[in-house]
């Protein structure tokens, strides 16, 4: 933003002061108390009070209890595959961003496609199996499970959200405002009430379950409700607008003539999309991904209402450690770790895009 024309006066500070004070008092300072609480002596309790002992072991204990999967050997390669998959995706995204000024040979697309397909199969097949097949549930810790579910829900949101945002931005004509209102409208109904209705939609004798049974995606008396599939579907549904709105904001700014120009220059629609539209929409993709992934990882409403004890997420663990077990140090340690992870992601984004683009 151009700052030259702006007034520099005490009024600015006065306008900021009350709101800033509120944020500092009830957002910044609480985080310090959280960090402090994570270093308390774990032997303390509500009655005896807590002692500050700089007990760093709270962190390793929490990681051992809720971060490490039971039996490392099995999911280890899966995690490895997931990490590689994420790395390749990020690489591709960055590549696509620079791609506007570079020429890609057909060979490089084939190469990307091949690597993508391999990684996709390696990551998706076991996930798919674990999600649908009624056999032994995947043994994952709440922390890894939250990250995995959050990532999958974000990926589905990106896929669905991009189609919707693209349609609104370029194809909706005079119905643009109406469609935007419709995107937000469902979310004026209570979150929990909406999530409960998925219980009916995915119930044992619902249409969706019968279709899945008919397609042999699940056994003939297989369930959808209380499986990871239900949880991820719920997360995808609940956080979709957080993806659609930033994507729309980004896509709406694109000059459609650029896309037409790519057609005129004989780019087929797919190449044109990946070389023009996608790179230009990257700011929206990144902020949408952040705004979807972060709440999805921390959410436990979907996991508790639509899942089972095998789908417990980290938010649920933190919540019950605080309110049921009164184990403040362990709960705070988990909370701080989650926050550090997220601040890390935000900082990577800020380094690339600057802070003005955040708001």
């Amino acid at each position: 933003m151009a700052e030259q024309g702006l007034r520099k006066s005490t009024t600015g500070y006065l306008l900021l002061l009350p709101g800033l004070l509120w944020l500092v008092l009830f957002f910044v300072i609480p985080f310090y108390s959280l960090v402090a609480a994570s270093l308390y002596d774990p032997a303390g309790s509500d009655f005896r009070g807590y002692q500050m002992t700089y007990h760093w072991q709270n962190y390793t204990d929490a990681l051992r209890d809720y971060g490490k999967p039971e039996g490392w050997n099995h999911p280890f390669w899966l995690i490895l595959a997931a990490v590689i998959g994420v790395a390749v995706t990020v690489g591709l995204l960055l590549r696509a961003r620079r791609g506007t000024s570079q020429t890609h040979s057909v060979g490089s697309y084939v190469g990307y496609g091949f690597v993508g397909a391999l990684v996709g199969m390696a990551v998706l097949y076991p996930i798919f199996k674990a999600l649908f097949v009624g056999g032994a549930p995947m043994v994952l810790s709440p922390l890894l499970r939250s990250l995995l579910y959050g990532a999958l829900a974000t990926a589905f949101c990106l896929l669905l959200g991009y189609v919707l945002a693209y349609a609104i931005a370029f194809k909706s004509g005079r119905w643009k405002t109406l469609m935007l209102v419709l995107v937000i409208a469902p979310f004026f109904t209570s979150f929990l009430v909406r999530t409960l209705s998925w219980k009916l939609l995915l119930g044992d004798d619902s249409v969706i379950t019968h279709v899945f049974q008919a397609l042999h995606l699940i056994g003939s008396n297989g369930q959808l409700l209380y499986t990871p599939f239900a949880v991820i579907a719920g997360l995808t549904y609940n956080f979709l607008p957080f993806m659609v709105l930033p994507l729309f904001a980004s896509l709406d700014k694109i000059d459609y003539r650029l896309i037409e120009a790519s057609r005129d220059l004989y780019a087929n629609p797919i190449v044109g999309f990946f070389k023009v539209t996608w790179p230009l929409s990257l700011p929206g993709v990144i902020s949408g991904t952040l705004l979807t992934f972060i709440p999805a990882v921390g959410d436990y409403i979907n996991a508790e209402l639509l899942g089972s004890t095998n789908t417990r997420m980290i938010g649920s663990v933190i919540q019950s450690l605080f309110t049921d077990a009164n184990d403040y140090p362990a709960a705070s340690a988990l909370s701080v770790m989650l926050m550090v992870l997220i601040v890390g992601m935000v900082l990577v984004y800020v380094r690339r895009a600057g802070t003005e683009e955040l708001l």
Binding site: T11, V183, L200, I318, M339
Partner: protein
Amino acid sequence: MRWIRERMVLILGLLVLLYTFVPIFVVVLMSFNKLPSEQSKIYKFSSFTLDNWLHPCADPSMCSALGKSLAIGGLATLVATVLGTLMAFALVRHRFAGRSAMNLTIFMPMASPEIVMGSSLLALFVAGGFAGQLGFWTILIAHIMFCLSFVVVTVRARLAGMDDTLEQAAMDLYATPSQTFWKVTFPLVFPGILGAALLSFSLSFDDFIITNLNAGQTTTFPMYVWGVARKTVPMQINVIGTLMLIVSVTIVLIGEFNNRRRAAAR
């Protein structure tokens, strides 16, 4: 075929939109559902009734939870909208030191998982010796905190998209700064402020995770739904869900209608 191919993206987009509405249809449908028995744990449609609409407060504890949610939502919206609008004006219209730190402070509450914000506040309240006083006021403090950033962002977007030629014209015509503000600037920004208020109310009304951690013995509407979700779900919660949808969509449509009328009048 050609017709379909040209509208492929739009059709797919409408299908995604339909998907977001499927659960809403269920909510409306279930608001007319009659439970087969008092203790039914199965969540499905059995037979049609108007009872839920005629007796929304069949369970008084639901209505008292609803009342608390409305009160907290209203107060949180009022405070957050006022403070947030002031901040948005400062950000767009004034220069000050520490701009990036400011942007980051406003952004972080939107980018933090609710469970982290909720547990931080709880840690603060407990450390400050307020563990026994958790309730209405602690919930209100938390709600104002997380609504604030969304208000700033919404109002800021409206302000940033407004050019100041009208304001300059008012000044040229010898309007005092306060006349300019109330007669020109404020009416132009007002739709943004209204949108921000609507957004904060729905955020506050909907919040479960932060509220649940800082509520003590107080029960809000989402907490009530959470509590009954494992037992018998009274169908009246769907009546409330439907009503909320109707009210908010009506407000949005009135705003939109006013905009169009004003645009047509110009």
